[in-house]
């Protein structure tokens, strides 16, 4: 009971943090999806040099500490005269970094597209661009949805690192509340639940999409 009365005044702050985390997550999922799809297409179909550049990008970003990357962008860019808010720095860096993993998942899907589908599309005169856009990417995404789901869950959890660049998201809000109320156990327990809600939501949505998209596909 006394926990609830202690924490009551902070509920709006926690709710704000929750919304910020949800927003930064949603924007970054979208961003990493766009970055990843573009990288996968270039890595799979691009000319030798473009494909190599994409592959280097993918490898590089999968081997960089996210925390360092976020510091680099948030504290480094202003030195070059580029100022972006903590929120958009987070979205940018998450999109670039998670995009590398997304690219990997989609590339795997692309290489799995049956040769017969490509043959038919080619023999019927579709251009390479039409083939990729209308057939190969949609088919690859059906295969990639499940691995993408785990990547996006991870992305949501990673947003907590944005508390280090002063973004008032869920973890930051909780830190402040915990240190003010001296109830870290309860506050962080609540935090776990709130993150679980977000990741569960993400899993359910992706799972639904997976089932729906693969409903009529032969196995």
């Amino acid at each position: 009971m006394s926990f609830l009365s202690d924490i009551g005044p902070f509920i709006p702050a926690l709710w704000d943090g929750f919304l910020t985390t949800a927003a930064v997550s949603a924007a970054s999922i979208l961003g990493s999806f766009v970055v990843g799809t573009a990288l996968a297409v270039v890595a799979t179909y691009g000319g030798r040099i473009a494909a190599m550049a994409a592959t280097i990008y993918i490898e590089a970003f999968r081997n960089i500490s996210f925390l360092v990357l976020i510091f680099f962008f948030y504290f480094g860019l202003p030195e070059l005269g580029i100022f972006i808010s903590a929120f958009w720095t987070g979205v940018l860096v998450l999109s670039l970094a998670v995009g590398a993993y997304v690219a990997d998942a989609i590339s795997a899907g692309l290489t799995n597209v049956q040769g017969g589908v490509k043959d038919a599309a080619t023999a019927f005169g579709l251009t390479t661009a039409q083939r990729i856009r209308l057939l190969e990417l949609p088919l690859a995404l059906r295969v990639s949805l499940r691995p993408l789901g785990s990547l996006f869950v991870n992305l949501i959890l990673t947003t907590s690192i944005l508390s280090t660049i002063t973004l008032n998201e869920l973890t930051n809000a909780a830190k402040i509340i915990a240190s003010t109320t001296f109830r870290p156990f309860e506050v962080y327990f609540l935090l776990l639940i709130l993150y679980s809600i977000l990741t569960y939501l993400c899993s359910v949505i992706v799972h639904r999409m997976h089932v729906r998209a693969n409903r009529f596909l032969a196995t």
């Binding site: 049956q114 017969g116 589908v117 043959d119 038919a120 599309a121 080619t122 023999a123 019927f124 005169g125 579709l126 039409q130 209308l134 057939l135 949609p138 088919l139 059906r142 998209a213 009529f216 596909l217 032969a218």
Partner: protein
């Protein structure tokens, strides 16, 4: 007219087509027979441009597969039906049929849809228009494959063992559709293992062995006793094919 002149193709030093000369006139139905690995599919794929010959020329009317523009025109005039259907699994049956007419020929979607319904109706699959390929039987899938090809209003059809993954009943369904096309005067190249199919719809038979054309004769000649007595290898091929 489809005209192949001295077409050669090797894979890693292995000769697959060893100087193919073949001319198919408008209105002809030519069956290509031959053992597994003889190069039958490779011939078909040299015509639709899926395989680039090492040398020789492949012409369809005045167009050559050797240049981009020619190839584009050839793919508009000449449609392929595949052994394994190769339908687009994430599109409905009718979307499979309308995709290329809309995207490649630039047909109005509305008109392409109406044409596709007519085609589906003609092969008895109208009620399956909005289902997906995975929901159909093999014979039905192949009839969708034929509709997809016919939707291009092609002058030429290439059919590569289109009944070989089907049971006899489904094969009969598909052959009935082919017979309708023969009656309409469609020009076709038909690769098949099934002698009955070759015999019932083709005008000419080409027999391929190890990448060379061994014989190229009228259907009636090919199946005559006198001819088979002269050509022992073909006779034994036919005997073993019938034994299957």
């Amino acid at each position: 007219m489809i005209k192949l002149t001295d077409v050669r193709k090797s894979y890693a030093g292995k000769v697959v087509l060893d100087g193919i000369d073949l001319a198919v006139q408008a209105g002809e139905v030519v069956s290509i027979l031959g053992g597994s690995g003889a190069g039958k599919s490779t011939i078909v794929n040299c015509i639709n441009g899926l395989v680039a010959p090492d040398s020789g020329s492949v012409l369809l009317d005045e167009f050559s597969v050797a240049n981009r523009k020619g190839l584009r025109e050839i793919r508009k005039k000449c449609a392929t039906v595949f052994q394994n259907f190769n339908l687009y699994p994430h599109l409905t049956n009718i979307e499979n049929i309308t995709l290329a007419p809309v995207r490649v020929l630039g047909v109005e979607p509305k008109n392409a849809l109406a044409d596709a319904h007519d085609l589906l109706h003609s092969v008895g699959l109208n009620e399956h228009a909005d289902k997906y390929p995975a929901q159909l039987s093999g014979g039905q899938k192949q009839r969708i494959g034929i509709c997809r090809a016919l939707a291009m209003s092609p002058d030429y059809l290439l059919l590569d063992e289109i009944t070989s993954s089907l049971d006899p009943e489904m094969t009969a369904e598909v052959v009935d559709v082919l017979k309708l096309l023969v009656d309409k005067g469609m020009t076709m190249i038909l690769v098949t293992h099934e002698l009955n199919v070759a015999r019932s719809i083709s005008s000419r038979i080409v027999f391929l062995e190890a990448g060379r054309i061994l014989v190229d004769v009228h259907r009636d000649v090919f199946f005559s006793d006198a001819f088979l007595d002269e050509n022992r290898r073909i006779k034994s091929f036919i005997a073993s094919a019938n034994g299957l």
